[in-house]
Symmetry: C2
Subunit: 758 residues, 2 copies
Amino acid sequence: MASVQDIVVSAAINLLSALAFLLLFAFLRLQPFNDRVYFPKWYLKGVRASPRSRGPFVKKLVNLDGRTYLKFWKWMPAALRMPEPELIQHAGLDCAVYVRIYLLGLKIFVPVALLAFAVLVPVNLTGKTLEGTKDLTYSNIDKLSISNVPSGSLRLVTHIVMAYVFTFWTCYVLYKEYRIITTKRLQFLASEGRRPDQFTVLVRNVPPDPDETVGEHVEHFFCVNHPHHYLIHQLIYNANNLATLVERKKQLHNWRTYYMTRYERNPKKRPTTKTGFWGLWGQTVDAIDYCTAEIEKISEVEAAERERVTNDPNATVPAAFVSFKSRWGAAVCAQTQQTSNPTVWLTEWAPEPRDVYWDNLAIPYVELAVKKLLMSVAMFFLTFFFMIPIVFVQSLASIEGIEKVFPFLTPLIESKHVKSVVQGFLPGIALKIFLALLPTILMTMSKIEGHTSLSSLDRRSAGKYHLFLFVNVFLGSIITGAAFEQLHKFLNQSPSEIPKTVGVAIPMKATFFITYIMVDGWAGIAAEIIRIVPLIIFHLKNAFLVKTEKDREEAMDPGSITFATNEPRIQLYFLLGLVYACITPFILPFIIVFFAFAYVVFRHQIINVYDQKYESAAAFWPDVHFRVIVSLIVSQILLLGLLSTKNASKSTPLLLVLPVVTIWFHRFCKGRYEPAFVRFPLQDAVVKDTLERATEPNLDLKAYLRDAYLHPVFRPIENEKEPVDDDEENNQVVSTKRTSQRGSKNVSGSVTPDGQRL
Amino acid sequence: MASVQDIVVSAAINLLSALAFLLLFAFLRLQPFNDRVYFPKWYLKGVRASPRSRGPFVKKLVNLDGRTYLKFWKWMPAALRMPEPELIQHAGLDCAVYVRIYLLGLKIFVPVALLAFAVLVPVNLTGKTLEGTKDLTYSNIDKLSISNVPSGSLRLVTHIVMAYVFTFWTCYVLYKEYRIITTKRLQFLASEGRRPDQFTVLVRNVPPDPDETVGEHVEHFFCVNHPHHYLIHQLIYNANNLATLVERKKQLHNWRTYYMTRYERNPKKRPTTKTGFWGLWGQTVDAIDYCTAEIEKISEVEAAERERVTNDPNATVPAAFVSFKSRWGAAVCAQTQQTSNPTVWLTEWAPEPRDVYWDNLAIPYVELAVKKLLMSVAMFFLTFFFMIPIVFVQSLASIEGIEKVFPFLTPLIESKHVKSVVQGFLPGIALKIFLALLPTILMTMSKIEGHTSLSSLDRRSAGKYHLFLFVNVFLGSIITGAAFEQLHKFLNQSPSEIPKTVGVAIPMKATFFITYIMVDGWAGIAAEIIRIVPLIIFHLKNAFLVKTEKDREEAMDPGSITFATNEPRIQLYFLLGLVYACITPFILPFIIVFFAFAYVVFRHQIINVYDQKYESAAAFWPDVHFRVIVSLIVSQILLLGLLSTKNASKSTPLLLVLPVVTIWFHRFCKGRYEPAFVRFPLQDAVVKDTLERATEPNLDLKAYLRDAYLHPVFRPIENEKEPVDDDEENNQVVSTKRTSQRGSKNVSGSVTPDGQRL
């Protein structure tokens, strides 16, 4: 086991590597040719222009101004200085609330750590159980932990009291945070400008009618059942095929541009390609001519398909976006049951147009139920038995396996150097590939489950990933062994035995988790800010594909907060913090450093980099809240298990109160706040309707809504950025501030993140 | 253990006693002086008049017509002959669906029993494991059970296949039944006449307003947020105090009548009473004068209180019944969220006026949450630890305990005869009293939980009672020992061990449960039909309190189906049947006899006796369905446990599929049918609204709804039966049929239950 010295050394190494990352970042971001990688958000907002367009050529590529390097740390205070209301306007509520998760971590753990170090550490340190032992499995860190307290000691009362204090503090912070975020969400929704989704309801499972088309059926149904409120509807075309064609055409365009660039640089040799799969085999042809011909061919097919989809009544799916004359009408329709058969005419709030996941809008009810069952079963096996196929692949991927399948490689592999690399490298690679693919696998599973918006897909995937991390990283690290072995162990142990088994192992794993926090947390966050993959891709694209300013715009990949993978990872730190708060408080400072560092980094990223694909107005908060509650309950049960092995089983009833109260607290919060994330209250709808009727009495809502929910492939290309341009007001506010700032630098509360170069 | 012979003897005894009950019933019901006890429903409908009013005096009391006695079994076919649509009109949908629970039992278990006897019994019988053993713990019945199959035998495949067949059959029957009952409910709601609850929504947690009274606040809120739909509202007065006064006055009236009757019969001696508690001590006074004076006093107080409640704005509670101009408006308001704070302005469908539980309409949100927490904790302790206080009381109720508390009783108790009675009788009585009080205790707990209608109170109490019976009767009989000992055992056993422990014990308890079914089921149902308690009470009241025909009307106690206790008891038979279907099929015929007998008896009772307090349109069916599913899953898990001890652990994955599929089936049914029991679809509302607007364009809805939701104490006494008279149409139909029947006896499909005497 690692001693305090080991931990300090490890912490120093990790801090230094994080610092190196940060220095690298500070250097890279100051280079003008990286500007679009580190400040894409501002380009998309139209506030920032390409630095290449002004000044001498060298200056366009490299920053030669030495003074700016001295202020390399400036981005940190800059990231913190933008006030939250401006942040919400600038990056949306999703982003602003996402960074509040880190803030929540700080709010919970800073007081907990102070209290733990003031009370628990002295109590543990003077426990003296481990004083005389020469047992090598204990380290200095364990002297600070509950392991140092003798069994049955009265000192354990402190831990129980602290468990109460920590629980109540966590609940208090969670409650306040839920309230704040609910208020923010309601304010955000209330202050939003007019948006199509406020008036629109997604209707699924329209039953077939022998005499009417889907469109007529929808219109008649809503005219009858929402007589004074129905306005228009938008049919949904089955355009998956068309979308594939459009995508393929775009790829071919890219290839042609690439070949033409190559030809321009080296006019002596016309580039060639092969007609077969991925250009790997087949007839060799002139690449530029081939691409042009293919594009023409595909354009024709696309035009025909477009024609077919728009005119063929069978190309519509039995679902529609139905719009109402008022927000009140839409709110009513979204929240009520339409017919006595609850499996048809299902209504729900329409996601905003960019948030729609078009492929899932037309799944019949029974099929959906079966798919959900299959996915839960699959999730169970994925969580507990994923090691089995990996072990199998690993056995194939051994030297012998390769020699069997590819006998011609034998002489190469058998050479000594190659062999050692293969042996050291291959067994791990299957697992690494699996873990890298995991978020995609989970997202695919969520897609099969049939959710209709990107935001709900993200939320569902996050839930699955959280379960996987909890079982395989947290439990898997504590009780070493594959998950299915744990499952077998748990099934054959009594329910009161499980917390004991896990609880006893927990103090011993503290040093492991400290290292984990430093490697995965600290270094991971530092790597996030460098954006190494987008950096490389941008420069590759820039070299080969970019011809015009518009191409360069498209070559930028601002990315977005990948909620589905990031949030469950944060939850792991909440779990570790809450579990170890009473047991080994020494871990808490590491977690606090993680939260603080991540808060600054992600605040910087959402201000300068990320461009969210959708805006769900913090619809994910109930999930975040729920998972912290789960962590809290896990921590209480594990403490209970640990204490019952310390001859303190009399404390069991006292500790059992905690999970009951915590569950009750969760239900209370759920009832009190969750509806604000699910439904739109009528009163708010009436307020907005009334205001709009007074300010814009002549609004032509029908024209406004007509094409709002058109499938993206039907949109004219210049309209593609419409949703962003839509809230002009917001944009104006931001750009006004930015412009005014260029004039007077001292406008308080709105400092540019790249102030030093202006 | 009991052998087949023992069971046959026991069955014969129980059959004979049931037969004796039935003969007694046949005799009693033919006596005219019992007519109001056995046919109160017809009196309440106004179809039947008192038999005393016609014919010679003796004939009014005793039935002297010998021929009618010969046809004593006639009530059975008569009970079965009324077709279901007429039954629904006559007794309401609740009753009609309630007897369908017994029918569901028959539908499930008759085919299951046939199949089990055709397949499983031969397989078990030829198993020959128990052939040679002299083990006395096995009986002949066990030769028909799975115990007779050797461990690890291939014969166990039959049991697994049968488990699949039984599961699929049960699910199929449940699915069909759910569909039928959903259709019936929707038809019932659609065919109902105009009723106040169709237009009305119960609004709770009206937030306080400094400038407005509750009434003004409600009116303004709904005028703004449901602008074209709001009609009127009815404030709710805090009339609990007044209701107590009214109740007390009624009691005093009864006492005065009682004393006056006594005085009439014995004019020489004026009855006296004492002024103290329950007339047990205090000053002796003339009883009639005392009662009259008391009534006068209380009338004055009541008038003052009535005045205060109606005029004092503080006497209203922050809740109201809000009525709308159309069913559509009410459906919308009931299903939507009104404001951004989901703890105020809570709306739900108003229960029908007789169904309202007035005391619970004004509980603040936080208080409600706390109460629910306390009640779940209380329910946990009640279920698992109820034996502890009873054992304590029993120890007090011993000879020594009594001698300590009441030393003066010592000489009496110490006498030999008394002592033996006390010793034999007292220990059991605490448990008996507890079990008799249990439904009341559970109902009180449900009331504390804050449900607002009698029907929901009944449903919640049934859920609690089901849990109690499952733990204490089913599990408690299988694993002997008090529930908290079981709990302790379960907590210290592995999850895979629990089904084994219980599973192994199951075949051995078959004979016990057969006896239980005969005693509790067969004899219990036979006792139900005699109505011994209402019979005695009616004759007591008749002797002392009845003066006028109206008094006699009130002395009748038709009673009602006590759903809260009866339904969980039925569920116990479902559980036994499903658990034993694969293990000891010999139990199935006993269960089938129970269901068949109960079906006939309860059909007779709902036709002739019960008068439901409310009509919830079968709102309880989702609960019934859910509990049968729970029984099914329990049976699958126990079979799994049993088989894994029979060296058939390879079958575990095969059997694990069953609970997963069953849970999925339940979720599917829930999604498909449950909304019909919770919400009122807009389409149905539109249809009814449109029809009404066309047929009655000049309806004054405001006048119709004005006093519909008045607290019962404010209703004029002659109006008390209004809800029944309300659906005049229905009444007309029934009475028309009845009347026409008196003329021509052969109208098919509508036979009088008392045909023989007409």
